[in-house]
């Protein structure tokens, strides 16, 4: 089926197989390999992208469902070679080790900041609950997001509380 999508501001018109996921369309047909496939089943969040202004697991969206829609991926995050505030904070706080989760983390963090501009540690944990990281232990990621939103103080103990 022929679809039209706008990805990171560029309009594409492509023929895709009906059973192709949005994730594979982005990676294999458009060459945007920043978005990763971890589980392919909605568990890990590595494939998170923006679709019509909301984060989705692109492994669970068909490319044909995106027809007429707007997609944003990690490739659109830096502007003119300058890292976004979030990317820069991830860099400074060593929130990236292997980097496999990072694209998805940045997408989810952006959505979180969009509806909660000054998130608490708990709000960050909740906002990222669909994004797994097997390297960092999350602490650096949380610090980076706190920093990017003006909530980080040097040497502040992170207290992991989550009311039940």
């Amino acid at each position: 089926m022929k679809i039209q999508v706008t990805v990171n501001g560029i309009a594409y018109e492509k023929d895709v197989a009906e059973h192709r996921t949005l994730l594979h369309f982005l990676r294999d047909d458009l060459g945007l390999t920043g978005t990763k496939e971890g589980c392919g089943a909605g568990e890990c969040g590595a494939c998170t992208v923006y679709f019509n202004g909301k984060t989705v697991n692109s492994c669970m969206v068909l490319a044909v469902e995106a027809n007429g829609g707007t997609i944003e991926t990690i490739e659109g995050e830096a502007q003119d070679g300058v890292l976004s505030r979030l990317q820069d904070a991830f860099d400074r706080h060593h929130a990236v080790q292997c980097g496999f989760c990072t694209a998805g983390m940045i997408m989810s963090a952006r959505e979180l900041i969009h509806h909660t501009p000054h998130p608490t540690v708990k709000e960050i944990q909740d906002g990222l609950e669909g994004n797994f990281c097997r390297c960092t232990g999350y602490e650096q990621i949380i610090e980076a997001i706190l920093d990017a939103t003006g909530g980080y103080r040097e040497k502040e103990e992170l207290v992991y509380v989550r009311e039940q």
Partner: protein
């Protein structure tokens, strides 16, 4: 995805229902896709045709009316429920259950109707819908009917729906509005996970009702109990409706234990 299928996305409900009526071969309706696409990928489902139900105007509607209650569309997402101020105000239990479902980005896609037609014993939305006397609106090309949610589930992943029927909405009546309700879900981790057990307790028109997920072949609900029901009587009522199994997540004894624990705690909370 290895399995190939064709795809259609009608833009009128009548066209969609007509398509259901006439299509030959196996088909599946696609709303959020958070179960369907995973099952196709795993090879558990092999539809010839996937019909997208989201391109129809009003598919994701939420309408509230003091007299008629709450009306949800067939593609209303879980995050639509969470961000609705009217639901927050009048049906807080619905929102509490929604907040515990999967992860943020899954909730952006997953739909309330999908969560119940899937009929998993661990459905997160079912406990709220059971407590709030929801009805399921079912349509074919030529018929319309309403099924109370108490009669909707028939077994693990099974419902009363016939192959060419489609759920076209959920109504939550006005007599359950402004009911206090709480939901607690036990998970292996605090983040995104399926429930080990889930318990909802609601106070509806001065009576208590308790709904439980992941502890029987379907989500279940007790009869109405007096507001001042004693703990042993409430636990007895719950014991009678559950029938947990042991699986990879935990044993049936643990499920039983946690259902009673949550029941006791939530009754206190809802009365407070």
């Amino acid at each position: 995805m290895i399995h190939q299928f064709s795809y259609m996305a009608p833009t009128e409900l009548d066209d969609l229902l007509a398509l259901l009526d006439t299509t030959k071969g196996g088909f599946k309706l696609l709303a959020g896709g958070t179960d369907l696409l995973v099952n196709i990928r795993n090879g558990l489902l092999k539809p010839d045709l996937v019909i997208d139900v989201k391109r129809i105007a009003g598919a994701g509607a939420i309408t509230y009316d003091v007299e008629k209650g709450l009306q949800l569309g067939w593609a209303t997402t879980i995050n639509d429920i969470i961000s609705s101020t009217e639901i927050a105000k009048h049906y807080p239990l619905l929102q509490a259950c929604a907040c515990d479902l999967a992860s943020y980005q899954v909730r952006n896609r997953a739909t309330v109707v999908g969560n119940i037609v899937n009929a998993s014993p661990c459905s997160d939305m079912a406990p709220a819908l059971l407590c709030l006397d929801a009805s399921i609106l079912v349509a074919t090309a030529t018929t319309r009917k309403t099924i109370p949610i108490q009669k909707f589930f028939t077994g693990v992943k099974q419902t009363v729906l016939q192959p060419r029927e489609m759920v076209v909405g959920i109504t939550i009546p006005s007599h359950t509005k402004d009911s206090k309700g709480v939901y607690r879900k036990l998970k292996r981790i605090q983040g995104h996970d399926l429930g080990i057990v889930g318990v909802a307790v609601a106070m509806v028109e001065g009576r208590l009702r308790i709904a439980v997920s992941s502890a029987a072949p379907t989500p279940v609900i007790t009869d109405d109990l007096p507001l001042d029901v004693s703990a042993p009587d409430a636990l007895y009522a719950v014991e009678r409706i559950i029938n947990p199994i042991s699986d990879i997540r935990c044993t049936k004894e643990y499920r039983r234990f946690m259902v009673s624990e949550f029941t006791k705690r939530l009754i206190q909370e809802v009365r407070a």
